[in-house]
Symmetry: D2
Subunit: 358 residues, 4 copies
């Protein structure tokens, strides 16, 4: 029963990769918001398969259809339901995988937890579910645009190739200019080469998506448990294949001393700001108005084009063969997913924060 | 309004560091559980200040008083309230800090969010709040003991000193044998020396707490949003000073290929297990029965014994002077806090999982 | 953001009466439940318009389409989404009502709360939304059937015509045998005559639906706030046009003395039961294993075929003319809605109760 | 796990009648609210036992102690914990009742649900828990006062004696002038005589509390499930001994025709109002700015001073003897409880409604 995210701006996703459809309901989007359907589609297009040679070659239209909650182009405050019908979902034969547990997939755990599962293409555990998040996140982004919040994610690492610049040294408007979504062209080229090589090796590789949120008002986050970064962390960790989350100075901050790490306040032109931003825009779990930035680690895709030893539901030793068209590295397509989840978190906290003072 | 954690096993903490008391209510603890009050106190003692030369020298009794929910030594299924009265909370003079924003503390963000705050010792944002979590976590641990789950955290890094062994190479029963709570004696000595040096420098340093959960049944976790590791991540990130979370292969997994990273299944003696455990005991957001392990990064403590530039509530430049008795490094005392939050997560998912099948 | 009901068995409905579709997501239905789609449809057919001469003559197919959560005929533990597409939703002209507030409808309050609303046929506030509840309730009923719970509602009053028998004096299998859904044939005939007369008068009339739940296990309900009858009450009051709820002795119990009202326990054949059942099967907010029974009061339908004075969004005096095809009395069609909401409540509490003891 | 009420303004109560203490945490009260502790105490005094000859003669101080969430007399936005220590809780001998199920109490259901219970004085199921609600409701009332909302409840029926005037025909400022809390002096006298007679008969009697909420802004309530009246209903039904709830025209509205029942809108002095108010101030689940009014039915107190047949935990036939000092009729003391729950509902919806529009 964990398919709902958010308190005030609240989504529930549904659907399996090879069922009739996937989709999402969005409850709590404030009324009066102009809904740009082309924008929703453009966000879905950033996530969809078949975009480039370094993503899966599957072709899916991922056409979003809004069933409710909008009237004359604007939100009405009632739930929006968005459905994305799956195409050709019955065309493939999954019998060969029905009883086998693919290594490092969710086949075994779903089987044990539920006793009965849709094994086709991972069913509910497929990353296809994230298309629903991207659709909902697009609505959240439209809302955040109204209040001046902007969210930009990009690929900062694939395998051992790591972008050695911080986000403030980069021109993030370059992100969409290359297929790996790394705003540094030179590094992007090396990343693309690596992914291409890994793909030819019939293997996969992990990566890191970095994200920057600018324009966040001071005051978002609800301590002590629903700290802004705790919810961002949960939201990111809920994305398929994510293994780690850090914000601000992150794991590297461990090596620093307090005197190095502390962000000194200063006051200029009527505004209190910090001289440095190791805090990553969040102090005590509440946004302080500085840029929020964080990193999300993705493991290598579990589906590889190689034979692997495994077991089946009866405990027999079996061989799982790599088949189909899969991503050699998920991070290029994960960029809009990270942005979507970040947008959902910020929108929710923005609305919650309206109740903090009398 | 973010002071509640958990769904079925649900806690709400309250209290400020220099108010009358801190405490917690626990709703949803199953009835019939024998409550060992001495154990609760022993957990609080692991967290309390003044334990050793490398923690703050403040002395606080942290005596837990259970007000409800227990009858004849056993839980009744009704809410337990646990109160820890603050001692001498009025003895100090906080006037000097009333209007100043301490760098990298929550003073500024609380002031902006709420407009009115208890500035004494950080008030609600003080890590003192975590004592309430430890008390609640002790109840969760007592419950988990009934179902064979054990949780062990330890310090794996302080500043640049990093334990270069994995948990399976360590004897975790050593953890409590030294004051830094690192199970490797030689590394522990180096950590203690570093912290002692940092303390003498009137500075602070960060660290990493690692945690291992054994005996978890298969099936815990509620995809797609409430994945087991997503909740573990949120729970850890909600602890004061935490900057990052990774589980299983974590950020290092990014460098691996799928063929290296995948955990092959095997079946022995009626049980399906994995040959390796890069998954960290969680696949598709659901426990697979292997050990769950993760790392939590803590930043250096913001309170340093040095003068720092800052601003006050009026925007004036001020100097914040280090005063009082504070920890040079939080991780030794964070070990029981990490365990407590992990216990709360596992207990909650254990109860939720009872509803997964007909 | 109030479009979600339930904790463990949790539904979210969406859709407007004249938008593309209405529907529901169901999260938390246990895996392994055989889903009888014909049964879902039959429940929808009991609610749909155009059934008889005493209901609205509008014809709507109300064909449910399940998009997810079911594989090979059984639930998988993942969310089910059910969509009911609206037919001919664009065919009518609602311009005449766009700016007018229909008396005792939700036009005015939605306008003020949201600032922007779908005025066609009441939009989100239309009782059409309850079709989604009936679909979800059908799933809950299928689950409850597995555990021996049965739910039967019937019409016990329309206007001044009141069935003067208690449920145990009636043969509830007669309920579906007449168009007013009153199990007493003689009373049913009088009710039908009254509704027919009211309809000819171009007016409407209220009614009461009574409901009995049998076979409920002891222990359902979560005091102190989520008492079983409190949730039943909320669930019923959330149905369109409901003005009151009472269970067991209800309002009439006020006149009784404690010595008359108390239900004495007795123990027979290994089972503790009560001699009377003024408690309505619930004591201290928890089911005691006796029959649960309650009454739900419905006001007369607000849409009448008469001219009424009102105002428009600009504050001008206007006349609202009755148009279209509407129910003269909602209670015959409300019977399956009451049952559906009752089923959702019981299913949720059944799952929650699994966590009450160690 | 049902001990939490509310979303944004959220309370959790704890405590048993004969444990150490009862109490409540309040999370989400906006910061900056002046907290009048004397007012909290005065509300508790309205509820406390021993007030008059028609209530129980038990004497309890019910002294509220606020442990957190307030600084320099104002709320800080962090959780308030309020504790009321029980006096002399160990003084009585409850051994005689330990294994017996008192008729129409919660002894049997708690025993079956939890397997282990505090049987002293009803434990958690005792109406003593409502003192915690009254304390929290007092905070909500202080908040509502800021926004012009006033809540007044009164006794409108005890047994067969029913006040035949509507609230608008009464001077509600008289309510506190007599011990039965009925604003009509003549009816009050008859009610007092009845209760006194019932008490002498060693019996008990039921009653009705009516409540009026004035000054509510338009727009409160979150359809479709969290309708304002649905939450009011749940809140009232969660109070001990409540059997029914109706608002506006209520059960009597069933007899009316639509043309009688509809509340025609009119517009005067810049304000849209309704000519009548059968809607009870709520349309489509959202407040329309008119007075909100409702009735709450209470059953006769289950504890009577007579011998009653029952069974014990082993299934043996036993006699339960009436002992102790109990209320012959709860409604006089229920008046502040009804007001408190109403205040909590309105405060919560007021805060939620801030998020309804962009």
């Amino acid at each position: 029963m964990g398919n709902t995210y958010g308190n005030t701006f609240r989504i529930t996703t549904f659907g399996e990769s090879h069922g009739k459809a996937i989709g999402v309901t969005i409850d709590g989007c404030p009324a009066g918001l102009a809904i740009d359907e082309a924008f929703i589609q453009s966000e879905l297009d950033r996530r969809k398969p078949g975009q480039s040679k370094i993503t899966t070659q599957r072709k899916e239209g991922d056409k979003a259809e809004i069933l409710s909650g909008i009237f004359e182009g604007k939100s009405t405050g009632t739930p929006m339901a968005i459905v994305i019908y799956n195409e050709d979902q019955k065309s493939k034969d999954y019998a060969h995988i029905a009883e086998k547990f693919r290594p490092s997939h969710a086949d075994y755990t779903y089987q044990q937890k539920y006793g009965h599962r849709d094994y086709r293409g991972g069913g509910r555990s497929s990353a296809r579910e994230t298309a629903a998040r991207v659709a909902a996140g697009a609505i959240a982004k439209l809302f955040l645009k109204q209040i001046g919040v902007e969210i930009n994610a990009y690929v900062s690492q694939t395998g051992h190739i790591r972008l050695d610049k911080q986000y403030w040294e980069l021109d993030l408007s370059n992100t969409e200019n290359n297929i790996v979504r790394c705003p540094d062209t030179e590094t992007a080229d090396r990343m693309i080469s690596l992914i291409d090589k890994v793909r030819k090796d019939q293997d996969t590789i992990g990566g890191v998506v970095s994200c920057v949120i600018t324009g966040t008002p001071v005051g978002l986050g609800e301590p002590v448990f629903d700290k802004l970064h705790a919810e961002l962390g949960k939201a990111m960790l809920s994305i398929n294949a994510v293994k780690g989350f850090e914000y601000g100075s992150g794991f590297a901050g461990v090596n620093m001393t307090g005197s190095q790490h502390n962000d000194l306040f200063e006051h200029n032109e009527g505004k209190t700001t910090t001289r440095t931003n190791h805090s990553g825009g969040i102090q005590g779990g509440i946004s302080n108005g500085e840029d929020i930035y964080f990193n999300v680690a993705f493991k290598p895709v579990a589906t590889i084009m190689q034979d692997q030893e495994s077991v089946d539901v009866h405990g027999n030793a079996v061989t799982v063969s790599g088949k189909g068209r899969h991503d050699p590295c998920v991070v290029p397509r994960a960029v809009p997913i990270v942005e979507a989840m970040a947008a959902l978190v910020i929108a929710d906290f923005y609305l919650l924060n309206k109740a903090s003072k009398i």
